[in-house]
Amino acid sequence: MSVTIYVPCDSAALSLGANEVADAVVREAGSRNLEVQLVRNGSRGMLWLETMLEVATDAGRIAYGPVTEGDVASLFDADVMAGGEHALRLGKTDDLPWMQKQTRLTFARVGVTDPVSLDDYSEHGGLVGLKKALTMEPSAIVEAVVASGLRGRGGAGFPAGIKWRTVLGAAADQKYIACNADEGDSGTFSDRMIMEGDPYVLLEGMVIAGLAVDATEGYIYLRSEYPDAYVVLTSAIERARAAGWLGSDVLGSGKAFDVHVRLGAGSYVCGEETAMLESLEGKRGIVRAKPPLPALEGLWGKPTVVNNVMTLAAIPYILDQGGEAYAAYGTGRSLGTLPYQLAGNIKQGGLVEVPLGVTIRELLYDFGGGSATGRPIRAIQVGGPLGAYLPESKFDTPADYESLSAAGGLLGHGGIVAFDDTVDMSKMARYAMEFCAIESCGKCTPCRIGSTRGVEVVDRLVEGKNRKKDEALLRDLCDTLTSASLCAMGGLTPLPVLSALDHFPEDFAKSE
């Protein structure tokens, strides 16, 4: 009897040798004359347990991890095919505390299915939202998204339904859906995980967006640092076209929608929506002045929905279950769930999807298990390189849009990077300015020049020859960046700089 064994093909798992584990499984099974069906699934998000191997048994899927190539023979010795006892046996995957405490709406299939299998997708609840959308008027689709309260998951948090309403109301011969997959923030990887682990949910979300605003073409702007995601996405698009999920006659409806993938080229600022549109058009990724809004004049000057991967991937659930079902999760004006990402110096790093409003402390300790080094977590950065550094006294803040904003931070793309007590926060402040100098598109002066001056002022401040004057100068410079930059790159760089200075002043005064 053939037994199904799952070994993830997520690039985080690959980075720890998942391909070698998969090869060893095939080799061992072959040498023992055992029939194994190997499925390369996405990752369950328990990245510290990668490579996490699963076996399908009558009692459900049993997990083992972290498995290395060298463990595979002993797993077979322990009758892994029947879920046998072994030092690496974790138990039933669904019963693991990490999984039990989550509400997986967007990530429901990730780690469960073969990412590019069309059958797996439709057998596990896929396409239901799209089929409903095909029976609805565009305005009804838009209103379902408005009712869900879904806000832009890329970081800005603008209500997705309102943006869609603007594009629907714009008259044009051609409109576009542009998916921002330029996930450049350090500490974030949810876009990558969904594109590698369940690409069809993103494609389905894009088709629904197209139906909602009367767009027939979609582009995914994928960062070049994600070569594995590129392979999965292009394969999924080809299969979806062949199956009639994409193309001139989506699911036999007579409606057209097709998707193309374009690669970025290592520019962080291309994650800013207008720079992304410039780059998609084949130009330098220079930020555009707004207005006009991309919703009215976006890609090639046409009305364009620009949404993040996570925003679009949340859409199929909303159409399937209704906007109200999604809005039943979350808190205040931060509705629905968010796939949070735990990164940096963290013992149990990975992805957890829970309703918005979970506290930072719950994420860091209940899920994350504290620091990887075993030392106290001294600081965290939430929301990428433009997010604030927060001290332990702020860890009880709920990780939603409003609460983090009130605490002087931002939620961004939901990534949390932990630092232990060996971190030098003046170095992190300096790095924030340095990163801005490296990645600035150069269009506006505060960002282009202010970032380089910022590095210099932080250096002088730490040197400590004229601390009072240099601190005043740094704050003044940050004020200019905040107020006068064209986009969030220069506008938010002061956030990590000043939060480091405000919360950890002692790190800037070591020369005293």
């Binding site: 980075s15 640092e225 970025g264 084949g282 330098r284 790093g349 630092f419």
Partner: protein
């Protein structure tokens, strides 16, 4: 731009053929400038300066426009890299797990700093700002493959294996 072109090494006929093939394959694509550069670099490891005029001609752009695109993006190289390209993540998550030590190690043991190619031409080291492997920091990418939880020892082993594959010295 004149001085850049005249000082750079001339592309070989084979390289020019690869450039032309990539350009003609993508000539009808909308906004094809980046895709063309990606295709050329995937083939040759860099974008030779001769490609600038050819892309400009194909897309009806000015040479300055194409030069601007080529030099704007961190990914594109104007010169051939070493046999292997190692990208070391410098972003916050990897810093939190000691990526700076990897940079120091590369300098001290392998004699190569960020943005440089080591003397034997085997490895080019480039900075990268996040590989999306932040739960398993520090991360590097070697020849397009991501590696997580990279210690100095693991890095040495990766480089040794890569160099062996090209017949270089370990």
């Amino acid at each position: 731009m004149q001085s850049r072109s005249s000082s750079a090494v001339a592309a070989t006929p084979d390289q020019l053929a690869a450039v032309d093939a990539a350009i003609s394959r993508l000539a009808t694509m909308r906004g094809a400038c980046l895709p063309m550069m990606h295709a050329i670099q995937a083939e040759l490891g860099f974008v030779p300066h001769e490609a600038v005029q050819r892309i400009a001609d194909s897309l009806n752009l000015s040479r300055a426009d194409v030069h601007g695109v080529l030099t704007y993006y961190h990914d594109f190289r104007s010169e051939a890299p070493g046999c292997h390209v190692l990208k070391v993540c410098r972003a916050e998550s990897c810093q939190a797990m000691g990526s700076e030590k990897l940079e120091d190690h590369l300098c001290e043991k392998h004699g190569v700093a960020m943005g440089e190619t080591c003397a034997d031409g085997e490895v080019t080291v480039e900075p990268v700002y996040c590989l999306g492997n932040c739960a398993l920091s520090p991360a590097v990418m070697l020849d397009g493959k991501v590696y997580g939880r990279v210690s100095a020892e693991r890095l040495d082993a990766l480089l040794q294996r890569a160099k062996k594959s090209t017949g270089g010295q370990s």
